[in-house]
Symmetry: C2
Subunit: 362 residues, 2 copies
């Protein structure tokens, strides 16, 4: 039986890098017996241009019924002034919320061959391999009330609400603790409990779950401002970081930039297990739509390709195929090929397509 | 006539580093005709222990009537589990709110002699000199409703509210634009307008003020997650960054860590000008109370000393005295003295007191 895969390339460099994944899918169908039933749909600015909405309800329904979603990226300056409901970004926010994709796993792993691409000193960043587990369906991204009100004197007020419930915190904490057990067994929970009650509750609930269910895992707590500093000072002190939606957004982007290879990092976002033992899941690169380089054929396709490898491993249970792709990527890097974002002296600069082809050859 | 100065050393390393400022004050009274009428009060855990509150109303009143407040740092793990109202941190939050200290100026400047102390490569961080202007009396730090509610089924909900009004955004934007005019004339405004309406309003209001009052200044906009990345990738792209309370907390700590000299960086927080042409102002180091090294005599006193220099310059109009201190600090660093936090090979390690004495000698 074929797996149902929904492909949402989105905006900016999304379609370009997705094209390189398509080549690999094609090859795997021919040579590895991979059977995929693929549907492609528009999201983000691409969907706005055709359908007038950032994502159609039918597309969300398709996503729900798929074994996995492979997502590119959304965001387009041309649409950013239209209206808050018609931001391209609504596509990913709605997908997360409607499919209850609550746990976003963002690895920040240094590729040894790319150590020179980091802004950090080699001795600070060497061996970096941390995982940020970010809550993605709660917090200030979705809390009510929200909006912009006009006051009686004509001035305005912008409002957003951060809300976290016990159960929202518990389930994402469990994902972090489970992951830590398969790694270095350490979790650092990050909030701002000295200023925010939602952070105070976060800390209490994580402490509680730890005591009751994961006493074997090492747990520490850190304030978000301190965590940003510690990520720069000594990122190797971390194993798994678990945090809310907004802090996770900032800290995971920061962590991935430390590796100097934002264009290389994939992510997975998981929904709760259903009664049938399966779960919805979405895979996307950590980088955004990068409108400044879109259409130039110079974007790095490796994060999208590695997102597909994660999808094979976690949603389709095809670890061997995932290994094949990950090894091919390593070999290509070792051979000295580099897109502009990870370029360093003495290496060979290639574009999106040549990089994709090279992975395929391997 | 003597200037009225309120000294609030606070917790952890606060009192130790403040002692080194006291020596300088003493010397300046004797040799530079500096007349200060100094009051010292307890704040934070120190005040909790004696008075049962993190800051007394009388102390806030004293602060209001002072020409300037020199603040140390607050925070103590021993008090963090007591109750949300009895956090040591309430002291600084109340001072900011009650005195309307709305604009926190946080320079992130690299001291050339300390370039090796940064985790970033020298070529990335060389010459770094940026200023973060953080709004400090609004946003999610103070918005209502807030708190932890228990629901009917015994589960709980933590809530905080981010609120920004037109006028709150306007006044902090003006501070940033005014500062930029005296620097490299560039402001980058940071929010998360693709997710939060309060960020959308922020962006609109900053754009508006720029068009109406500061068209000569170069203005750009950046999302907070991207800003965290860009600060690591290429911090020299920034001149002045203006942002809200929560993003400012995280990004300014990050920026100061880039310099590798957190223990060196002062900050100023300004209230609006009053009718008499004066304003309330508070000066504090960027570092916190550092409970792990408190009482050991190894803390770096330079951020506190440089905060006092800022106070002389901006609140007391004594630029010459400020210059004296800043030059002394430079000379001490050039002579090779280092506290543990900024230590590098070949330098001489000293403690808090020896560092303070060395500045005094210079
Ligand atoms: C596109 C945007 C809404 C999104 C977010 O803020 O979550 C992005 O920055 C991310 O991290 O996936
Ligand atoms: C002590 C704490 C309340 C404070 C803050 O979060 O504002 C501190 O981190 C700061 O940046 O001054």
């Amino acid at each position: 039986d074929a797996y149902k895969l929904l492909v949402l390339a989105g905006d900016g460099i999304g379609p370009e890098v997705m094209r390189e994944v398509a080549r690999i899918v094609h090859w795997m169908s021919a040579h590895r017996g991979l059977k995929l039933d693929i549907t492609e749909e528009l999201v983000g600015a691409a969907s706005l241009a055709v359908h007038g909405v950032p994502i159609r309800d039918e597309v969300i329904e398709l996503a729900r019924q798929s074994d996995a979603v492979l997502f590119g990226s959304v965001g387009d300056p041309a649409w950013s002034h239209v209206s808050f409901d018609k931001r391209p970004e609504v596509a990913i926010l709605k997908l997360r919320k409607e499919l209850e994709l609550f746990a976003n796993l963002r690895p920040a792993k240094l590729f040894d061959a790319l150590i020179d691409a980091s802004a950090l000193k080699p001795e600070v960043v060497r061996g970096l391999d941390l995982m940020i587990v970010r809550e993605t369906v709660g917090g200030i991204y979705f809390g009510e009330p929200r909006g912009i009100e006009t006051l009686f004197d004509g001035s305005r007020r912008g409002i957003n609400t951060e809300v976290y419930t016990t159960s929202e915190i518990e389930r994402v904490a469990r994902v972090a603790f489970d992951l830590a057990r398969k790694r270095d067994n350490r979790v650092c929970s990050v909030e701002k409990c000295n200023v925010m009650e939602s952070g105070l509750l976060w800390k209490e609930v994580v402490t509680d779950i730890h005591k009751r269910e994961y006493p074997d895992v090492q747990l520490s707590h850190m304030l978000a401002d301190n965590c940003a500093m510690q990520l720069v000072r000594d990122p190797n002190q971390f194993d798994v970081i678990v945090t809310g939606n907004l802090f996770g957004d900032i800290l995971s982007d920061l962590a991935s930039m430390l590796t100097g290879s934002l264009g290389m990092l994939p992510s997975a976002t998981l929904a709760p297990l259903r009664a049938d033992g399966k779960r919805n899941a979405l895979y996307e690169p950590i980088h955004g739509s990068a409108p400044d380089i879109a259409g130039k054929g110079i974007a790095n396709p490796l994060a999208q390709i590695l997102s597909f490898a994660m999808l094979l491993r976690y949603s389709l249970n095809r670890a061997e195929d995932a290994d094949l792709i990950e090894t091919a990527v390593s070999n290509v890097l070792a051979s000295g090929l580099r897109t502009g974002d990870i370029m360093s002296p003495g290496m060979a600069r290639v574009g999106t397509e040549m990089m994709g082809q090279a992975v395929l050859r391997e």
